[in-house]
């Protein structure tokens, strides 16, 4: 096993910070996708801090595509902390003078694909990974998908394609929170499961794990068998980290009011106090 230099305590602290910052931004606008961001935060953190490599100048060498584009707040706050986006960018989120919208826009710093319409990111990620492979570029491409998004036919076209192209440099993560726009994913499509086995049967390697266990995610990807594209099915809770948002559908697209905001901050502070020094 490759030793894991990923510090679990630091990861937990960072993820609380990401949530705090997202809540802060939520107070500037009438609505944003808080719960979809919270559910994939540990996976985004694990990708940026545990998996992506940097070049000598400190720039990220690996690629990232947020296919569930409405979860992009999770990426914005990380890019801000890495200095790729500026504080002003988030302060001007969804305003006419700013450059960040509610979905990722290719051309903004750190954003590699314009997503927001579900079912596009995996195909794009396959194309990037294939070009890297035939051009001899040593780069990994990481991609985050929603479990509702997995219902798009285009996702399965990309799943079918990736092994044909020998994309061992592609790792996709499913934010498996069992929610989509209109309620529970298991109620919308009860016969859709199990997902990991389905993806495996298309020629991928697949791992099913706890999507909030950052270290577990990093370990699983680092110690994959390899030679094939990898799908990490990360079991998550939509709205993770704030009690009243967890598994409550309305938080898909909504800003907390002042009282809710204060309560959320208090819960995050209590969680931070529990992290061993």
């Amino acid at each position: 096993m490759i030793p894991n230099a990923f510090d679990v305590g630091q990861a937990r602290r960072r993820c609380l910070d990401w949530r705090r910052r997202i809540l802060e931004v939520s107070q500037q606008v009438t609505a944003l996708h808080v719960a979809p961001a919270f559910s994939c935060i540990e996976m985004v953190d694990a990708i940026y801090f545990g998996l992506m490599r940097k070049d000598a100048a400190g720039a990220l060498r690996d690629g990232f595509v947020m296919s569930k584009g409405h979860g992009v707040m999770a990426q914005y706050v990380v890019l801000e902390a890495l200095g790729i986006l500026e504080r002003q960018d988030l302060d001007e989120y969804c305003t006419a003078k700013g450059r960040l919208g509610a979905h990722p826009d290719y051309g903004n710093p750190g954003i590699e694909a314009s997503t927001g319409s579900l079912g596009h990111g995996l195909g794009l990620a396959c194309g990037m990974a294939y070009a890297d492979r035939i051009q001899g570029t040593d780069r990994m491409t990481y991609c985050i998908l929603g479990d509702g998004e997995m219902q798009e036919g285009s996702i399965w076209e990309a799943i079918m394609m990736a092994p044909n192209l020998g994309l061992s440099n592609l790792v996709a993560f499913v934010d498996f929170n069992d929610f989509q726009g209109l309620g529970r994913t298991r109620e919308t499509h009860p016969h859709f499961y199990p997902v990991a086995e389905k993806v495996e049967s298309f020629g991928w390697e697949a791992i099913d794990l706890d999507g909030h266990d950052s270290a577990g995610v990093v370990d699983a990807v680092r110690n994959r068998k390899g030679g094939r594209p990898l799908m990490v099915v990360g079991r998550t809770v939509k709205g993770k980290g704030v009690s009243y948002m967890e598994n409550v559908a309305i938080w898909h697209y909504r800003s907390p009011n002042k009282d809710e905001y204060v309560q959320a901050l208090a819960e995050l502070a209590a969680a931070a106090a529990e992290i061993p020094a």
């Binding site: 003078k97 051309g107 927001g116 319409s117 036919g153 499509h189």
Partner: protein, 304 residues
């Protein structure tokens, strides 16, 4: 508008068992949620899967039903475009494809959620009718028409919620395929459709304040276009202005210009539409429209 659609559909659906709704993971507004509870067989949610939403609706129509496919305009029209073309239009089936948030309504969500080119794309399809009501009252009339019509596929372009009522005192009732006179004047004719009618009215008020007599027409049925109605507007006014919230290529403005050329119209004609561009701007709906050059002041300056 969304809620007016839902209420109207619910009432019609109570009495007509051929009516059904197929959505793709979109929270059904208002009465559609009630429709789902009362008539679960006639409410289908395909999940995040728009192609099969259209396929299902088409198949149900082939068995005599009258389905409405319903989601955000980009996902209802762009994503399953070929299914709409082949399954609905080629087979000429009476299915209503409802697009919520036409134009750049969802301003902060970016171009993936902007149905900028929806009018041209929908009008480009043989057999397709294209209806874009300007306010909740027109949305109600249009929805009612869609629930009973037998002519073929319809793209019903709605906005979202909170649009003001603009046609309470309209000079004429809503009629499918007919240019609707909202107010009759002598000097300038303004032709618009959809919620940007509010801006068109503002332009009209300003022109009136400067002493002009203004006609305002709602071109709610963009296809089939009321050609005689457009010809009359071009002939009866010295100045005609077309205002629409959609990309310019293939939209109403170009069609009106073509008609004006064909009839050798002598009026001045100015057309205003969204730019043929993706503007990477994320402010309010009005702010985004202004970036596209659509504001009452910009239009007034352009027609002065």
């Amino acid at each position: 508008m969304r809620n007016t659609f839902a209420d109207t559909f619910y009432e019609a659906g109570k009495h007509d068992r051929r009516l059904a709704v197929v959505v793709a993971d979109i929270s059904p507004a208002g009465s559609i949620a009630k429709f789902r509870e009362d008539f679960p067989d006639r409410f289908i949610n395909t999940g995040v899967a728009e192609q099969v939403m259209i396929g299902l609706a088409a198949g149900m129509a082939q068995r005599g039903m009258r389905p409405f496919a319903y989601t955000i305009a980009t996902f209802t029209l762009f994503r399953p475009y070929e299914m709409i073309r082949d399954d609905l239009c080629y087979q000429n089936l009476p299915v209503t494809v409802v697009g919520i948030g036409g134009g750049v309504t969802y301003s902060t969500l970016g171009a993936t959620h902007h149905a900028q080119e929806d009018i041209a794309l929908a009008c480009g399809l043989p057999n397709m009718a294209v209806i874009a009501p300007c306010d909740p009252l027109e949305a109600k009339a249009a929805t009612l028409w869609c629930t009973t019509q037998t002519r073929g596929p319809v793209y019903l372009r709605l906005a979202k919620a909170g649009e003001p009522v603009l046609t309470e005192t309209a000079a004429e009732p809503w009629e499918f395929g007919k240019l609707r006179t909202l107010q009759r004047g002598r000097d300038v004719a303004i032709i618009a459709y959809g919620p940007i009618m509010k801006m068109a009215m503002e332009v009209a008020r300003n022109l009136e304040a400067s002493g002009k007599s203004v006609s305002v027409f709602s071109c709610h049925t963009v296809k089939p276009l009321d050609r005689p109605g457009i010809e009359a507007a071009l002939r009866d006014h010295a100045q005609v202005v077309v205002i629409e919230e959609t990309a310019p290529n293939g939209a109403l403005g170009m069609q009106v210009k073509a008609i004006a050329w064909e009839i050798r119209a002598g009026c001045r004609l100015d057309t205003f539409a969204l730019d043929d561009a993706f503007h990477h701007v994320y402010g309010s709906h009005d702010e985004l429209l202004a970036v596209h050059g659509l504001s009452a002041s910009a239009i007034l300056a352009g027609i002065a």
